[in-house]
Amino acid sequence: MSETLYNVMNFTLPIGRQSFGEVMSELDGLSPFHKKPKFSDGQLRTVIATIFTYGLHYNEVSEAQRELLLKAILEGKQPLFDLSQTFSRHLMNNLDSATESQLEALKNITYDLKRPLSNEALVDFVEEALLDQTTSHRKWEYGRFSLAYLAAHFSELIIWEQIEKVVKEKKLDPEEYLMIFGKQMQSSSHGIDNHEQLLLNLMVKAKLWPKMTNMSDYILAGSIVQQHLLGLSLRSKKLAKTMENALERTPTINKRRGGPKL
């Protein structure tokens, strides 16, 4: 059988950034005579992005907490849920034509937005056209997107340009640098989990040495983010602080290029 080829997603196409709450208030404003409001394209994509985010991450919490998780996603309370919502919007820009017409057809159905998961047509579309792809052959693309998103998210505290400049000027050895950075994270007083250390390490590697970052690294990052996004979001300040401290304490002198060995 011939080899299966997949297209790399194109992230340059524009996406909307409307929130679920904004869609709700737009639809609330309609007169009661509009019993069957048609979704606009933007509204439909926003609702789908919300269900996608729940669908990708609901099993991070126990069944009893899933309603709360859904509420947090609908109300946009956790900053990092935007990562998966944004990814799914890009995924919707990269559908084949058959799937695109399925998406188009979804505009003509009436939905109960107070209970988003009760809309079977939407949930089916999310699972069949978006989640199955994200959790299989596109997982590395989700992972790569996640690392870019997180690096941008942490840029409020970490000045990447400065570190990148030092790395280039001093031609630092990546393996040595990442090993010491990892050790610094372990000894940090903040106490972060193993999967968090691994993810931060992958993020620093991808940001500073993208040429050395491969599909396996992105798959690993993708699976960590898929299974721990809520935890990462809740602890994102702690993670940023740990990373900042560890980066500051990682020496930027190449031992192999240094002076005489003692």
Binding site: T4, A98, D124, A129, Q133, A148, N214, S216
Partner: protein, 161 residues
């Protein structure tokens, strides 16, 4: 919220200089499978490998139905979707539904799809795309090799009718 422009800049930084393995506009299924094998130990070490794989409810049902009944011409009369759901949810992770639009095994995975979808172009298109992903990624989801093969043959038929 990070602006779309900033996000794109960060993403382009990764893609512009990226490793030749993932460079370009296309990638192959074998590349992905190999890359997945290479990280399995690392995933195990952080407790990720032990999770059930996610698969949409419709496709999970199709996998179970095909594995159980690939070699018979008709489903047993007493077969219900509840039984299939029980098996499917042990193997795969999918969202629970309030409503139930799928009611019989034949609706999910008909034994004669070309006849079943004769007057339902939309239904056939959806069924076809459900099959396509399962056929392309069959190694990921199937445990019975014969069912993998029979689904491939069925997909070829559905493409033609």
């Amino acid at each position: 919220m990070i602006s779309s422009e900033k996000l794109l800049r960060y993403l382009e930084d990764l893609t512009r200089e990226e490793h030749p393995q993932v460079n370009g506009k296309e990638y192959t299924r074998s590349q992905v499978l190999l890359a997945e094998r290479l990280v399995r130990d690392a995933q195990r070490a952080i407790g990720i490998a032990s999770q059930k794989p996610k698969l949409s409810r419709r496709r999970a049902f199709i996998v179970i139905l095909e594995e159980l009944y690939y070699n018979v011409p008709k489903y047993p009369k007493e077969l219900t979707l509840d039984g299939i759901h029980r098996r499917a949810s042990q193997r795969f992770e999918y969202m629970n539904r309030d409503a139930k639009s799928l009611t019989t095994p034949t609706e999910v995975h008909p034994k004669n799809p070309c006849t079943f979808y004769e007057d339902n172009g939309y239904g056939k298109a959806r069924y076809k795309s459900a099959l396509q992903h399962l056929v392309l990624e069959s190694q990921r989801y199937f445990e019975v090799p014969e069912a993998q093969t029979s689904l491939k043959l069925l997909f070829e038929d559905v493409k033609l009718c």
